[in-house]
Symmetry: C2
Subunit: 312 residues, 2 copies
C-alpha cells in the first residue's frame, strides 16, 4: 500500500473526452502524484457505474487520502458521469464552484465542475468544458494575467478566452484542429498527402500568409489551393499537410485577432509543440513573442478549491 | 440494331469523376439520344483499355454513327483515359479545341478536351475539368451571357467563372459541397444530426444570414454554432443540416460576390434543386431573381465542335 503525504488536500481530476488525468495536490497547490488513463468520458458506456469503476481502477488506493475531489471537463457533459449545467459568462472561480454538482464514488462526493457558456450578440451561444479551469489555472500560475488577458488554447476546438479582473468575460471556439483532421483524412485534399509527411515550416508559413494576405477570398476557396498546389507540382506532397495547417491556423488568427481586445496581452496555453506552431503563426501576424503556458488544469482545480473552501 | 438519324454529327461525352453521359448530337446541335453510366473516370482502374471497354458497353452500337467524338471532364485528368494538359485562362472555345488530345477507341479518335487553369495574383492556381465546357454551353444556350457574365456552378466543388466576350477570363473554386459532406459525416457536427433530416428553409436562411452578417468571425468559429445551437436546443436536430448548408453557402456567396465583377449578370448553372437553394441564398444577399440554366455540357461540346470544324 502506498503511503501518502499527510498534507494531501485535493484530488483533482482533469477528465476530458479522450483521457483522464488524476492528480494528488498538497496544501500549497503542488501536484504530488499524477496518474493517467485513456478512459476519457466519451469512451465510457454504462453511465455512473462505468465512471466510478474507472476511478476504482486508476486511483482506488487514493479513496481515503484527500478531503476533497474536484473534477473538470467532459465528465460533466450530457454523455458524462452526470450533466452539469453550464455556468454563464462572465464567470470567475466562485461562479464555477457554485455551479458544481456532486456524484457518488463509493460513499465519497466527487464534485463535477460546470462548463462555461457564452451568449453572444451574433446569436449562437458558445460553450467549453474543461478549458475554463485551465484559464483559472493560468491566472493562478501567472497572476499578472488576471487584470486583462487573451488566453488562446490551441487544439481540436481551439478556445480564445478574454479575461478581465480574474473573470472570463467571453470566449470563442474555433474548430481548427478538427477541420485539419477531417479535411486531411476524409476530403479530396488528403489524397495527395503522404501518410507520414515531413514537417515543413516554409510551407506552414506560406499557408499562414495566404490566410493573412488573402483571407477575404474565403476558406472554402483557399482550401482548394491545397489540391492545386499539389496537382501542379508547386508544393511537394510532403509539404501539403503543413500548408493546410498554416492556412487553417492563419484563418483562426485572422478572426481571433480581429475580435480580441488589442490591449490585452495574448498568451498561449496547451501542448508545447502546437503552441510553438501558433507562436510562429502569430509572429507572421506581427504579434509576439508570446508567453506559452503548459497545462494548467491542476492550478485551476486548486484555485477553485481555494475559493470554495466552505463548500468543499 | 438501332438505326440512327442520317444527320448525326457528333458523339458528345460528358465524362466526370462519378458518371458518364453519352449524347448523340445532330447537325443543329440538338441531342437526339442520351445514355448514362455510373462508370465515372475515378471508378475505373486499368488505364486506356478500361475506358475503351466502357464505351464498347455503353455506346458500342454508336461506333460508326457520327463523324466526331468529343469528350470533356475528368476523363482527361491524371487518373483518366489520358492526361490532357490544362489550357490557360483567358480561354475561349478555340483555345479548348486547340488543346484537345486524341485517344483511340477501336480505330476511331476520341478527342479529349483540356480542363482550364487560372493563375491568380494571390498565388495558388485554380483548375476545372468539365465546367469550362458547361460555361461555353451556357453562352451557346443564352447568347446574351457571352458579352459579360458571372456563371456560378454550385456543387461539391462550386465554380465561379467570369466571362467577357465569349472568353472565360478567370474562375475560382469553392469547396462548399465537400465541406458540407465531410463535416456532416466525419466531424462532431454530424453527431446531433438525424440520418434523414427534414428540409428546413428557415434554418437554411438563418445559416445564410449568420455568414452574411457575421462572417468576419470566421468559418472555423461559426461552424461550431451548428453544435452549440443543437446542444442548447435552440435548433432542432432535424434543422441542423440546413443551418450548416446555409452557413457554408453563405460563406461561399460572401467571398464570391466580393470577388466578382458587379456589372456582370450572375446566373446559376447546374442541378435545379441545388440552384434553387443558391437562388434563395442570393436573395438574402439582395441579389436576384437570377436565371437558372440546366446542364449545358451538350451545348458546350457542340459549340467547341463548331469552332473546331477544320480539326474534327
Amino acid at each position: 500500500m502506498t503511503s501518502f503525504p499527510r498534507e494531501t488536500r485535493l484530488i483533482g481530476l482533469d477528465w476530458g473526452s479522450s483521457s483522464l488525468r488524476a492528480m494528488l495536490i498538497d496544501e500549497q497547490g503542488q501536484v504530488l502524484l499524477t496518474r493517467q488513463s485513456t478512459q476519457g468520458a466519451s469512451t465510457l458506456k454504462g453511465g455512473a457505474a462505468a465512471f466510478s469503476a474507472v476511478l476504482d481502477e486508476l486511483i482506488g488506493d487514493w479513496h481515503a487520502t484527500a478531503p476533497a475531489i474536484l473534477a473538470c471537463g467532459m465528465v460533466g457533459s450530457q454523455h458524462g458521469w452526470r450533466e452539469v449545467p453550464y455556468a454563464a459568462c462572465p464567470a470567475d472561480a466562485s461562479a464555477l464552484a457554485a455551479g458544481a454538482v456532486d456524484v457518488d464514488w463509493r460513499g465519497r462526493a466527487v464534485r463535477l465542475l460546470p462548463g462555461l457558456r457564452c451568449d453572444t450578440e451574433a446569436g449562437p451561444p458558445d460553450v467549453m468544458r474543461g478549458e475554463e479551469t485551465q484559464v483559472l489555472g493560468a491566472l493562478e500560475s501567472a497572476p499578472e494575467l488576471a487584470a486583462r488577458s487573451c488566453i488562446v488554447m490551441p487544439g481540436t476546438h481551439s478556445k480564445w478566452a478574454q479575461v478581465i479582473d480574474g473573470t472570463v468575460r467571453s470566449f470563442a471556439t474555433q474548430m481548427t484542429g478538427e477541420l485539419f483532421a477531417v479535411m486531411r483524412q476524409h476530403s479530396v485534399l488528403g489524397r495527395l498527402m503522404p501518410a507520414d509527411p515531413a514537417h515543413d515550416l516554409l510551407s506552414f508559413a506560406q499557408g499562414v500568409r495566404a490566410a493573412r494576405d488573402h483571407g477575404e477570398l474565403g476558406l472554402p476557396h483557399q482550401l482548394f489551393a491545397v489540391r492545386t498546389l499539389g496537382l501542379t507540382g508547386r508544393l511537394a506532397s510532403e509539404a501539403l499537410p503543413d500548408y493546410l495547417s498554416g492556412l487553417l491556423i492563419g484563418h483562426e488568427l485572422r478572426a481571433g485577432l480581429r475580435a480580441r481586445d488589442a490591449d490585452a496581452p495574448l498568451v498561449l496555453l496547451g501542448e508545447p509543440a502546437l503552441c510553438q506552431r501558433y507562436a510562429k503563426a502569430l509572429d507572421l501576424f506581427g504579434i509576439g513573442p508570446v508567453q506559452v503556458l503548459l497545462n494548467t488544469a491542476a492550478a485551476g482545480l486548486w484555485r477553485i478549491a481555494q475559493v470554495a473552501r466552505g463548500v468543499l
